[in-house]
Amino acid sequence: MKKMIIGNQAVAYGALSAGIDIATGYPGTPSSEALTELFNFSQKNDPSPYVEWSVNEKVAFEVATGAAWTGKRAITTMKMSGCNVASDSILSVAYSGTRGGLVIYIADDPGAEAGMPEQDTRLFALQAGLPLLEASTPQSAYKLTRFSFELSEKTELPVILRLVTSVSHAQEMVEGDYSYNRLDREASFERDIFKYTKAGSAICVGQHETLLLRLKQAERIVADRRINRLNCRNCSDSTGFSVVSSGSLIPYVNEELMNFEDVPHLALESIYPLDENIVIKMLKKSERVLILEELEPVVEIMIRSLANKLGWCGTILGKMDGLLPRTGKYEREVILKGLEALVRGNRKRKKHENEPIVETPSIGFSEITGNKQNRNDLPPVSIKHPITFCAGCPHRGTFMALVRAIKRNRMDRNKIIVTGDIGCTILGMNPPFNSCWTEVSMGSSIGLAQGFVRGGIREPVVATIGDSTFFHAGMPPLINAVQHRTGFLLIIMDNGWTCMTGFQPNPGTEERFQGANTRQVDISRLVQAMGIDDLQVINPFDQEHSEEVLSQALLARGVRVVIARKECAITVARRGEVESVCVVDPELCNFCKRCLRETGCQALFVSDYEDREIVKIDTDQCNGCTLCITSCPTDAISTGKIK
């Protein structure tokens, strides 16, 4: 059966086809749709695997591991930053190994299209000593997901499955069985402290030795199953060049090589451990090798060291010689630059040896590069549409009230440090609020704020965080503040969902939206139990009260927590529960633009009325939050007109 799906969904269907019993994860672009697909499947089908959005990636990985240790197949999904959170447990479990197939799906983001560091999970695989597979297309993501369970069970190692944004979000027809092949395994677990604990150096070193043996075994299995391909249609006529590409670049390299039948192409979908046999086969045919991979020179380091071990004395072109960049997504231009260098070097060599210059059949490269995109034709103007809070977003109200409270206290906005955190709440850094000063990692707003206080900042310090981020990694730093009596103001914006990544449920989501057999965790009871000095709850659409509460909380001492509680406007709108929208009376609008200046709401736009300009509201976008009403000095805006 064929369906038009994205790479992330292909991972989900590959896992269902492999008969998983458990799937866990934490949302993070560009990985989220994998678990979303599994979650939706589990809500609609019986039998289905157990699927949960866990509180964070470390917990998600541990839940999956426990299930895999009972012999079941399990997958856990995350973005690359999540791998950092889970890494403590991943490294330990790597040494212990697994029984049932355990697959860690991680999406990397060369080019940082979704934000956060451009880190390369392939390097983490080397650190953890775990096999890493990388799919080149959604179709290969489906096949490789199935294979990763097999590889995991044969080697007794967790397997990392890596996709990059260009594949995880690419949509194409994928052939698959689109059904759940339940395995019906009995759960069992035997006590084996040599395998499942780290008590004592003998145990730990022994586990390390086992891990290395298992990696060797993984290399053999990958070679037997021909996961990596040396593509060459006419290799007997070899010119002495070869190209190696890793994962997502494979189809783009194939596309450029389409007209050049004589260039062997080693396409790697199993990245670590290096499939040495096939690399040796390629090296033997080649004098010059070009290695194409995005981000870090991971394959290049491994191939260079293998070449060195073999005493191979050809030339390797890649990143380590400075030819190709270590940053960003590779466009066609970069691939052509590499191929051009590969061919050009060949001609030079022939000349040097005083041989007649042989026009290689690959001459077409320069024809193509002659046409290449001229970097100078980038547009002379660039229009920035700043991303801001959605129309009706309660966070807009919280930041408006914070700006107003600072002003009311006659404090200098340029001196009030506001730490930001991951998720929608960070949009408070953009105009018109310009509030957040920092963004580091999940939960870091709370730890950083304490550092600013301990560093000696005299003005009040404010930390801002969303509900899901607070559950994920915000609780330990808050406990730290209580224990050490480090006073600051923490604003938790609780909109009931994990929104930036596509509205996944979190522990604070109402039970009726979470699926069967769940329980909502109340942040206000949680922080009170931690022993904070003061707690206030505000409705950010009640600006008068919110401003009052925040202005007092700014001036108070101790660990103060303000919870700004209102459900996400988009989830409300999607349920069709928006009751009214805001409208402008054109007669009353004097075009002072205070609403634009204070709210920055995208539902507001400038329009002509008779012979003058006024602000109008796009009723398709407006979700009736009424914040613009609090900005209008002439009472020109009111609620009305039901959608």
Binding site: M4, T29, E113, A114, S136, T137, Q139, S166, V167, H169, A170, Q171, E172, M173, S248, L249, I250, P251, Y252, N254, E255, M258, K329, E331, R332, E333, N371, K372, Q373, N374, D377, L378, P379, P380, V381, S382, I383, K384, H385, P386, I387, T388, F389, C390, L427, P431, P432, I570, K593, L596, R597, G600, C601, Q602, L604, F605, V606, D620, Q621
Partner: protein, 201 residues
């Protein structure tokens, strides 16, 4: 045959739906098609783009991304975002651009100038003479633009002639679940507008 179509616009304009409608037609026609949407900021007024690659080579797997300078066709749903996407357009490629501007409130407050249709044309004409501007679009813009585009196809790209009025209407009926009638009506309005645009050439 390989055709690269790059669509750009803003969150809420229906860029992704437009891409899906074209992809559905290509797929129904037995062609290989891939779509890459970057829509992370779709709800938040940010830039949304869609990359469509259509080929008739059954035995070749293309990657889903379009590199700079490789788009045969650029469909622009907003002036600023069309300008931001100009680097994707091939030399002598075709651009069909809606004359619609969404000016960020920061720019309104700072009284910064937003590019006019004339300035935008001048920028594009440096790269291609195949430029079509769509004035006074009708909502939903994505469907209106599709109507204009489908009529212009015989003038633009012979390989896309599978995108006929009736085929696209079929895919609207399959894909658009809400206000389908309005979409069909808007599509026809776009198509008629395209006919006038073609006549004026």
């Amino acid at each position: 045959m390989l055709t690269n179509i790059f669509i750009s616009g803003l969150g809420g304009q229906g860029v992704v739906t437009l891409a899906n409608l074209i992809a559905q037609c290509a797929s129904e026609h037995g062609l290989k098609v891939s779509v890459f949407n970057s829509r992370g900021m779709a709800q938040r007024g940010g830039r949304v783009t869609s990359e469509i690659r259509i080929s008739d080579n059954k035995n070749f797997i293309y990657g889903a991304r379009i590199s700079s300078g490789q788009a045969d066709i650029l469909l622009g749903m907003e002036i600023g975002e069309s300008i931001n996407s100009i680097s994707y357009l091939k030399e002598l490629g075709t651009a069909v651009i809606l004359d619609y501007s969404f000016i960020p409130s920061e720019m309104i407050l700072k009284k910064e100038a937003y590019p006019s249709q004339k300035e935008t044309s001048e920028l594009f004409l440096k790269k291609t003479k195949n430029l079509f501007f769509v004035d006074n679009p009708v909502s939903p813009y994505n469907i209106f633009l599709l109507g204009v585009f489908v009529l212009l196809i015989p003038l633009i790209d012979k390989e896309l002639t599978f995108l006929t009025q009736s085929e696209v209407e079929k895919s609207i009926l399959t894909i658009i679940k809400r206000e389908t009638e309005l979409s069909l009506k808007t599509f026809r309005q776009g198509y008629e507008y395209g006919a006038k645009l073609a006549e004026s050439l």
